[in-house]
Symmetry: C3
Subunit: 135 residues, 3 copies
Protein backbone atom coordinates (compact mmCIF):
# COMPACT_ATOMS: atom_id res chain seq x y z
CA UNK A 1 0.00 0.00 0.00
CA UNK A 2 1.64 3.21 -1.14
CA UNK A 3 0.78 6.27 0.88
CA UNK A 4 -0.43 9.47 -0.75
CA UNK A 5 1.25 12.57 0.60
CA UNK A 6 0.77 16.24 -0.08
CA UNK A 7 3.86 18.19 -1.07
CA UNK A 8 3.81 21.83 -0.01
CA UNK A 9 6.90 24.02 -0.33
CA UNK A 10 7.17 26.72 2.36
CA UNK A 11 7.56 29.35 -0.34
CA UNK A 12 4.12 28.63 -1.77
CA UNK A 13 0.89 30.50 -1.11
CA UNK A 14 -1.98 28.28 0.04
CA UNK A 15 -3.81 26.92 -3.02
CA UNK A 16 -7.02 28.83 -3.83
CA UNK A 17 -9.02 25.59 -3.46
CA UNK A 18 -8.84 22.09 -2.03
CA UNK A 19 -5.89 20.88 -4.06
CA UNK A 20 -2.27 20.16 -3.27
CA UNK A 21 0.70 21.89 -4.92
CA UNK A 22 2.19 18.44 -5.29
CA UNK A 23 1.14 14.89 -4.54
CA UNK A 24 3.31 11.84 -4.21
CA UNK A 25 1.93 8.32 -4.35
CA UNK A 26 4.15 5.33 -5.01
CA UNK A 27 6.86 6.42 -7.41
CA UNK A 28 4.71 9.15 -8.99
CA UNK A 29 5.04 12.82 -8.09
CA UNK A 30 2.54 15.15 -9.72
CA UNK A 31 3.09 18.90 -9.57
CA UNK A 32 -0.06 21.03 -9.82
CA UNK A 33 -0.27 23.92 -12.25
CA UNK A 34 2.14 26.62 -11.08
CA UNK A 35 2.09 30.27 -12.04
CA UNK A 36 4.52 33.13 -11.60
CA UNK A 37 3.75 34.00 -7.98
CA UNK A 38 6.59 35.23 -5.82
CA UNK A 39 7.28 33.36 -2.56
CA UNK A 40 4.31 33.80 -0.25
CA UNK A 41 4.27 36.50 2.41
CA UNK A 42 2.07 35.55 5.37
CA UNK A 43 -1.18 37.47 5.37
CA UNK A 44 -0.63 38.96 1.92
CA UNK A 45 -2.35 37.94 -1.32
CA UNK A 46 -0.10 36.36 -3.98
CA UNK A 47 2.02 38.75 -6.06
CA UNK A 48 3.08 37.91 -9.62
CA UNK A 49 6.84 38.05 -10.35
CA UNK A 50 6.35 40.62 -13.08
CA UNK A 51 4.05 41.66 -15.84
CA UNK A 52 6.43 40.23 -18.46
CA UNK A 53 6.84 36.74 -19.86
CA UNK A 54 10.48 36.42 -18.75
CA UNK A 55 9.88 37.06 -15.06
CA UNK A 56 6.75 34.93 -15.00
CA UNK A 57 8.33 32.00 -16.84
CA UNK A 58 11.40 31.92 -14.60
CA UNK A 59 9.33 32.24 -11.43
CA UNK A 60 6.91 29.57 -12.61
CA UNK A 61 9.77 27.16 -13.34
CA UNK A 62 11.23 27.88 -9.89
CA UNK A 63 7.83 27.19 -8.34
CA UNK A 64 7.63 23.84 -10.12
CA UNK A 65 11.18 23.06 -8.97
CA UNK A 66 10.27 23.87 -5.36
CA UNK A 67 7.48 21.33 -5.45
CA UNK A 68 9.70 18.71 -7.08
CA UNK A 69 12.34 19.23 -4.41
CA UNK A 70 9.88 19.29 -1.53
CA UNK A 71 8.72 15.92 -2.87
CA UNK A 72 12.22 14.48 -2.93
CA UNK A 73 12.67 14.86 -6.68
CA UNK A 74 14.49 17.14 -9.11
CA UNK A 75 14.19 18.16 -12.74
CA UNK A 76 16.04 14.95 -13.57
CA UNK A 77 12.98 13.00 -12.45
CA UNK A 78 10.50 15.03 -14.49
CA UNK A 79 9.15 13.11 -17.47
CA UNK A 80 6.54 15.62 -18.63
CA UNK A 81 6.23 19.38 -18.48
CA UNK A 82 2.98 20.98 -19.64
CA UNK A 83 3.30 24.61 -20.65
CA UNK A 84 0.18 26.75 -20.99
CA UNK A 85 0.66 30.08 -22.73
CA UNK A 86 -1.95 32.66 -23.59
CA UNK A 87 -0.49 33.88 -26.87
CA UNK A 88 1.16 31.97 -29.74
CA UNK A 89 3.42 35.01 -30.23
CA UNK A 90 5.12 34.10 -26.92
CA UNK A 91 6.38 30.69 -28.09
CA UNK A 92 9.80 31.82 -29.33
CA UNK A 93 10.64 33.93 -26.30
CA UNK A 94 9.39 31.29 -23.89
CA UNK A 95 11.61 28.70 -25.59
CA UNK A 96 14.67 30.92 -25.23
CA UNK A 97 13.99 31.42 -21.54
CA UNK A 98 13.16 27.72 -21.10
CA UNK A 99 16.33 26.56 -22.84
CA UNK A 100 18.60 28.90 -20.91
CA UNK A 101 16.96 27.85 -17.64
CA UNK A 102 17.44 24.14 -18.26
CA UNK A 103 21.01 24.67 -19.49
CA UNK A 104 21.71 26.41 -16.21
CA UNK A 105 19.99 23.63 -14.24
CA UNK A 106 22.24 21.10 -15.96
CA UNK A 107 19.39 18.71 -16.74
CA UNK A 108 20.78 15.67 -18.54
CA UNK A 109 17.66 14.33 -20.23
CA UNK A 110 15.05 16.99 -20.93
CA UNK A 111 11.46 16.10 -20.06
CA UNK A 112 8.86 15.67 -22.76
CA UNK A 113 6.69 18.75 -23.22
CA UNK A 114 3.39 19.91 -24.63
CA UNK A 115 2.70 23.60 -25.17
CA UNK A 116 -0.81 24.83 -25.87
CA UNK A 117 -2.48 28.24 -25.85
CA UNK A 118 -5.35 28.72 -23.45
CA UNK A 119 -7.05 31.34 -21.35
CA UNK A 120 -5.56 32.13 -17.94
CA UNK A 121 -6.71 34.47 -15.16
CA UNK A 122 -6.02 38.14 -15.91
CA UNK A 123 -2.34 39.10 -15.63
CA UNK A 124 -1.00 35.56 -15.95
CA UNK A 125 0.89 34.73 -19.14
CA UNK A 126 2.07 31.22 -18.33
CA UNK A 127 1.18 28.18 -16.25
CA UNK A 128 3.23 25.00 -15.97
CA UNK A 129 2.66 21.59 -14.40
CA UNK A 130 4.88 18.53 -14.31
CA UNK A 131 4.84 14.77 -13.84
CA UNK A 132 7.85 13.09 -12.24
CA UNK A 133 8.76 9.46 -11.71
CA UNK A 134 10.96 8.82 -8.69
CA UNK A 135 13.37 6.14 -7.66
CA UNK B 1 3.39 -8.13 -17.80
CA UNK B 2 0.67 -5.81 -16.54
CA UNK B 3 -2.63 -6.11 -18.34
CA UNK B 4 -4.43 -3.11 -19.76
CA UNK B 5 -8.12 -3.06 -18.96
CA UNK B 6 -10.92 -0.73 -19.94
CA UNK B 7 -12.98 0.72 -17.12
CA UNK B 8 -16.58 1.45 -18.04
CA UNK B 9 -19.14 2.44 -15.41
CA UNK B 10 -22.68 1.27 -16.17
CA UNK B 11 -23.93 4.82 -15.72
CA UNK B 12 -21.83 6.11 -18.61
CA UNK B 13 -22.93 6.70 -22.19
CA UNK B 14 -20.77 4.97 -24.79
CA UNK B 15 -17.84 7.23 -25.68
CA UNK B 16 -18.34 9.14 -28.94
CA UNK B 17 -15.17 7.56 -30.35
CA UNK B 18 -12.75 4.68 -29.84
CA UNK B 19 -11.59 5.61 -26.38
CA UNK B 20 -12.23 4.21 -22.92
CA UNK B 21 -13.78 6.15 -20.04
CA UNK B 22 -11.00 4.74 -17.91
CA UNK B 23 -7.96 2.56 -18.43
CA UNK B 24 -5.99 0.66 -15.87
CA UNK B 25 -2.52 -0.70 -16.52
CA UNK B 26 -0.19 -1.71 -13.73
CA UNK B 27 -0.81 0.64 -10.81
CA UNK B 28 -1.98 3.50 -13.05
CA UNK B 29 -5.64 4.35 -13.59
CA UNK B 30 -6.35 7.12 -16.06
CA UNK B 31 -9.81 8.64 -16.24
CA UNK B 32 -10.78 10.15 -19.60
CA UNK B 33 -12.21 13.65 -19.83
CA UNK B 34 -15.65 13.60 -18.24
CA UNK B 35 -18.42 16.13 -18.73
CA UNK B 36 -21.71 16.80 -17.00
CA UNK B 37 -23.80 14.08 -18.65
CA UNK B 38 -26.49 12.45 -16.56
CA UNK B 39 -26.42 8.65 -16.25
CA UNK B 40 -27.02 7.12 -19.67
CA UNK B 41 -30.49 6.00 -20.73
CA UNK B 42 -30.35 3.19 -23.30
CA UNK B 43 -31.22 4.40 -26.77
CA UNK B 44 -31.18 8.07 -25.79
CA UNK B 45 -28.51 10.65 -26.59
CA UNK B 46 -26.58 12.04 -23.59
CA UNK B 47 -28.31 14.74 -21.56
CA UNK B 48 -26.34 17.37 -19.66
CA UNK B 49 -27.09 17.72 -15.91
CA UNK B 50 -28.07 21.36 -16.28
CA UNK B 51 -27.23 24.51 -18.10
CA UNK B 52 -25.47 25.93 -15.03
CA UNK B 53 -21.95 25.50 -13.71
CA UNK B 54 -23.05 24.01 -10.38
CA UNK B 55 -25.04 21.12 -11.83
CA UNK B 56 -22.42 20.40 -14.48
CA UNK B 57 -19.50 20.51 -12.05
CA UNK B 58 -21.14 18.19 -9.54
CA UNK B 59 -22.25 15.74 -12.24
CA UNK B 60 -18.79 15.81 -13.85
CA UNK B 61 -17.12 15.06 -10.52
CA UNK B 62 -19.56 12.21 -9.96
CA UNK B 63 -18.77 10.86 -13.41
CA UNK B 64 -15.04 10.91 -12.65
CA UNK B 65 -15.74 9.18 -9.34
CA UNK B 66 -17.76 6.46 -11.09
CA UNK B 67 -14.79 5.66 -13.30
CA UNK B 68 -12.37 5.67 -10.36
CA UNK B 69 -14.63 3.28 -8.45
CA UNK B 70 -15.28 1.01 -11.42
CA UNK B 71 -11.48 0.78 -11.67
CA UNK B 72 -11.08 -0.19 -8.02
CA UNK B 73 -9.94 3.24 -6.89
CA UNK B 74 -11.36 6.24 -5.06
CA UNK B 75 -10.64 9.96 -4.78
CA UNK B 76 -7.98 9.03 -2.25
CA UNK B 77 -5.98 7.46 -5.07
CA UNK B 78 -6.25 10.45 -7.40
CA UNK B 79 -2.97 12.34 -7.74
CA UNK B 80 -4.01 14.78 -10.47
CA UNK B 81 -7.26 16.40 -11.48
CA UNK B 82 -7.35 18.49 -14.64
CA UNK B 83 -10.18 21.01 -14.80
CA UNK B 84 -11.10 22.62 -18.09
CA UNK B 85 -13.38 25.63 -17.88
CA UNK B 86 -14.61 27.84 -20.68
CA UNK B 87 -14.64 31.15 -18.81
CA UNK B 88 -12.19 32.63 -16.29
CA UNK B 89 -15.20 34.23 -14.56
CA UNK B 90 -16.24 30.71 -13.43
CA UNK B 91 -13.10 30.06 -11.37
CA UNK B 92 -14.42 31.31 -8.03
CA UNK B 93 -17.75 29.52 -8.23
CA UNK B 94 -16.15 26.30 -9.46
CA UNK B 95 -13.75 26.40 -6.52
CA UNK B 96 -16.60 26.78 -4.02
CA UNK B 97 -18.42 23.81 -5.53
CA UNK B 98 -15.18 21.82 -5.76
CA UNK B 99 -14.23 22.51 -2.15
CA UNK B 100 -17.65 21.63 -0.77
CA UNK B 101 -17.69 18.44 -2.85
CA UNK B 102 -14.34 17.23 -1.59
CA UNK B 103 -15.16 18.20 2.00
CA UNK B 104 -18.24 16.04 1.69
CA UNK B 105 -16.24 13.20 0.14
CA UNK B 106 -13.85 13.33 3.09
CA UNK B 107 -10.74 13.19 0.95
CA UNK B 108 -7.67 13.25 3.21
CA UNK B 109 -5.01 14.45 0.79
CA UNK B 110 -6.39 16.56 -2.06
CA UNK B 111 -5.07 15.75 -5.52
CA UNK B 112 -2.90 18.21 -7.41
CA UNK B 113 -4.84 20.24 -9.95
CA UNK B 114 -4.41 22.36 -13.05
CA UNK B 115 -7.23 24.60 -14.26
CA UNK B 116 -7.12 26.15 -17.71
CA UNK B 117 -9.67 27.87 -19.92
CA UNK B 118 -10.38 26.26 -23.26
CA UNK B 119 -13.11 25.78 -25.79
CA UNK B 120 -15.60 22.97 -25.21
CA UNK B 121 -18.54 21.72 -27.30
CA UNK B 122 -21.60 23.98 -27.15
CA UNK B 123 -23.47 23.81 -23.84
CA UNK B 124 -20.60 22.32 -21.85
CA UNK B 125 -19.00 24.57 -19.23
CA UNK B 126 -16.59 22.12 -17.63
CA UNK B 127 -14.61 18.99 -18.38
CA UNK B 128 -12.47 17.06 -15.88
CA UNK B 129 -10.02 14.17 -16.14
CA UNK B 130 -7.94 12.47 -13.48
CA UNK B 131 -4.87 10.34 -12.93
CA UNK B 132 -4.84 7.84 -10.07
CA UNK B 133 -2.13 5.62 -8.65
CA UNK B 134 -3.39 2.43 -7.05
CA UNK B 135 -2.09 0.05 -4.46
CA UNK C 1 17.12 3.42 -9.41
CA UNK C 2 15.25 3.73 -12.70
CA UNK C 3 17.11 5.53 -15.44
CA UNK C 4 15.53 8.34 -17.43
CA UNK C 5 16.09 8.04 -21.14
CA UNK C 6 15.17 10.25 -24.06
CA UNK C 7 13.24 8.64 -26.89
CA UNK C 8 13.91 10.15 -30.30
CA UNK C 9 12.59 8.54 -33.46
CA UNK C 10 14.83 9.02 -36.50
CA UNK C 11 11.86 10.39 -38.43
CA UNK C 12 11.43 13.32 -36.07
CA UNK C 13 12.71 16.86 -36.49
CA UNK C 14 14.76 18.14 -33.56
CA UNK C 15 12.42 19.67 -30.97
CA UNK C 16 12.25 23.48 -31.13
CA UNK C 17 13.44 23.68 -27.50
CA UNK C 18 15.12 21.65 -24.76
CA UNK C 19 12.54 18.90 -24.53
CA UNK C 20 12.46 15.27 -25.59
CA UNK C 21 9.95 13.77 -28.03
CA UNK C 22 9.58 10.96 -25.54
CA UNK C 23 10.92 10.12 -22.11
CA UNK C 24 11.00 6.77 -20.40
CA UNK C 25 11.60 6.39 -16.68
CA UNK C 26 10.71 3.21 -14.85
CA UNK C 27 7.60 1.78 -16.46
CA UNK C 28 6.34 5.19 -17.63
CA UNK C 29 6.74 6.43 -21.20
CA UNK C 30 5.57 9.95 -21.87
CA UNK C 31 5.18 11.16 -25.44
CA UNK C 32 5.54 14.91 -25.95
CA UNK C 33 2.94 16.86 -27.91
CA UNK C 34 3.18 15.80 -31.54
CA UNK C 35 1.89 17.67 -34.55
CA UNK C 36 1.41 16.78 -38.20
CA UNK C 37 4.99 17.22 -39.37
CA UNK C 38 6.21 14.91 -42.11
CA UNK C 39 9.37 12.87 -41.41
CA UNK C 40 12.30 15.25 -41.02
CA UNK C 41 14.59 16.04 -43.95
CA UNK C 42 18.09 16.97 -42.79
CA UNK C 43 18.73 20.69 -43.12
CA UNK C 44 15.12 21.51 -43.94
CA UNK C 45 12.53 23.14 -41.67
CA UNK C 46 9.56 20.93 -40.67
CA UNK C 47 6.80 20.55 -43.24
CA UNK C 48 3.19 19.87 -42.20
CA UNK C 49 1.51 16.80 -43.76
CA UNK C 50 -1.26 18.89 -45.28
CA UNK C 51 -3.44 21.85 -44.66
CA UNK C 52 -6.41 19.62 -43.85
CA UNK C 53 -7.50 17.90 -40.67
CA UNK C 54 -7.31 14.39 -42.14
CA UNK C 55 -3.68 14.55 -43.22
CA UNK C 56 -2.61 16.28 -40.03
CA UNK C 57 -4.48 13.90 -37.74
CA UNK C 58 -3.10 10.79 -39.41
CA UNK C 59 0.45 12.16 -39.48
CA UNK C 60 0.20 13.26 -35.86
CA UNK C 61 -0.98 9.80 -34.79
CA UNK C 62 1.89 8.25 -36.74
CA UNK C 63 4.31 10.60 -35.02
CA UNK C 64 3.01 9.57 -31.60
CA UNK C 65 3.29 5.91 -32.65
CA UNK C 66 6.92 6.44 -33.74
CA UNK C 67 7.79 7.72 -30.28
CA UNK C 68 5.93 4.87 -28.57
CA UNK C 69 7.77 2.32 -30.70
CA UNK C 70 11.17 3.98 -30.31
CA UNK C 71 10.52 3.69 -26.55
CA UNK C 72 9.74 -0.01 -26.74
CA UNK C 73 5.98 0.44 -26.51
CA UNK C 74 2.95 0.34 -28.80
CA UNK C 75 -0.59 1.72 -28.83
CA UNK C 76 -1.52 -1.23 -26.60
CA UNK C 77 0.53 0.37 -23.81
CA UNK C 78 -1.02 3.82 -24.15
CA UNK C 79 -3.35 4.64 -21.27
CA UNK C 80 -4.07 8.27 -22.15
CA UNK C 81 -4.23 10.24 -25.36
CA UNK C 82 -4.69 14.01 -25.17
CA UNK C 83 -6.10 15.58 -28.30
CA UNK C 84 -5.87 19.33 -28.80
CA UNK C 85 -8.00 20.74 -31.59
CA UNK C 86 -8.43 24.37 -32.59
CA UNK C 87 -12.10 24.23 -33.61
CA UNK C 88 -15.07 22.44 -32.03
CA UNK C 89 -16.42 21.95 -35.56
CA UNK C 90 -13.58 19.46 -36.15
CA UNK C 91 -14.68 17.01 -33.45
CA UNK C 92 -16.84 14.77 -35.63
CA UNK C 93 -14.36 14.47 -38.48
CA UNK C 94 -11.46 13.92 -36.10
CA UNK C 95 -13.39 11.11 -34.41
CA UNK C 96 -14.04 9.39 -37.74
CA UNK C 97 -10.37 9.54 -38.64
CA UNK C 98 -9.36 8.49 -35.12
CA UNK C 99 -11.71 5.52 -35.07
CA UNK C 100 -10.67 4.26 -38.49
CA UNK C 101 -7.00 4.63 -37.54
CA UNK C 102 -7.33 2.61 -34.34
CA UNK C 103 -9.48 -0.02 -36.06
CA UNK C 104 -6.68 -0.43 -38.56
CA UNK C 105 -4.06 -0.56 -35.80
CA UNK C 106 -6.01 -3.36 -34.15
CA UNK C 107 -5.80 -1.85 -30.68
CA UNK C 108 -7.58 -4.12 -28.21
CA UNK C 109 -8.27 -1.71 -25.36
CA UNK C 110 -8.57 1.91 -26.48
CA UNK C 111 -6.72 4.47 -24.35
CA UNK C 112 -8.62 7.04 -22.32
CA UNK C 113 -8.83 10.40 -24.03
CA UNK C 114 -9.48 14.07 -23.37
CA UNK C 115 -10.21 16.45 -26.22
CA UNK C 116 -10.12 20.19 -25.69
CA UNK C 117 -10.04 23.20 -27.99
CA UNK C 118 -7.05 25.49 -27.70
CA UNK C 119 -4.87 27.79 -29.72
CA UNK C 120 -2.04 26.24 -31.74
CA UNK C 121 0.67 27.81 -33.91
CA UNK C 122 -0.60 29.03 -37.29
CA UNK C 123 -1.36 26.22 -39.73
CA UNK C 124 -1.63 23.48 -37.12
CA UNK C 125 -5.10 22.03 -36.53
CA UNK C 126 -4.26 19.25 -34.10
CA UNK C 127 -1.71 18.27 -31.47
CA UNK C 128 -1.63 14.97 -29.58
CA UNK C 129 0.37 13.62 -26.66
CA UNK C 130 0.21 10.28 -24.90
CA UNK C 131 1.07 8.51 -21.67
CA UNK C 132 2.03 4.84 -21.78
CA UNK C 133 2.67 2.29 -19.06
CA UNK C 134 5.10 -0.46 -20.03
CA UNK C 135 5.75 -3.97 -18.85
Amino acid sequence: MSEKTAVTPESHPAPPAKFSHGVRKGNILQVAGQVGYLPAVAGQPPVTAGPGLREQTLQTLENVRSVLEAGGASWDDAVMIRVYLTDTAHFGEMNEIYNAYFDEQGVKVPAARTTVYVGLPAGLLIEIDALAVLG
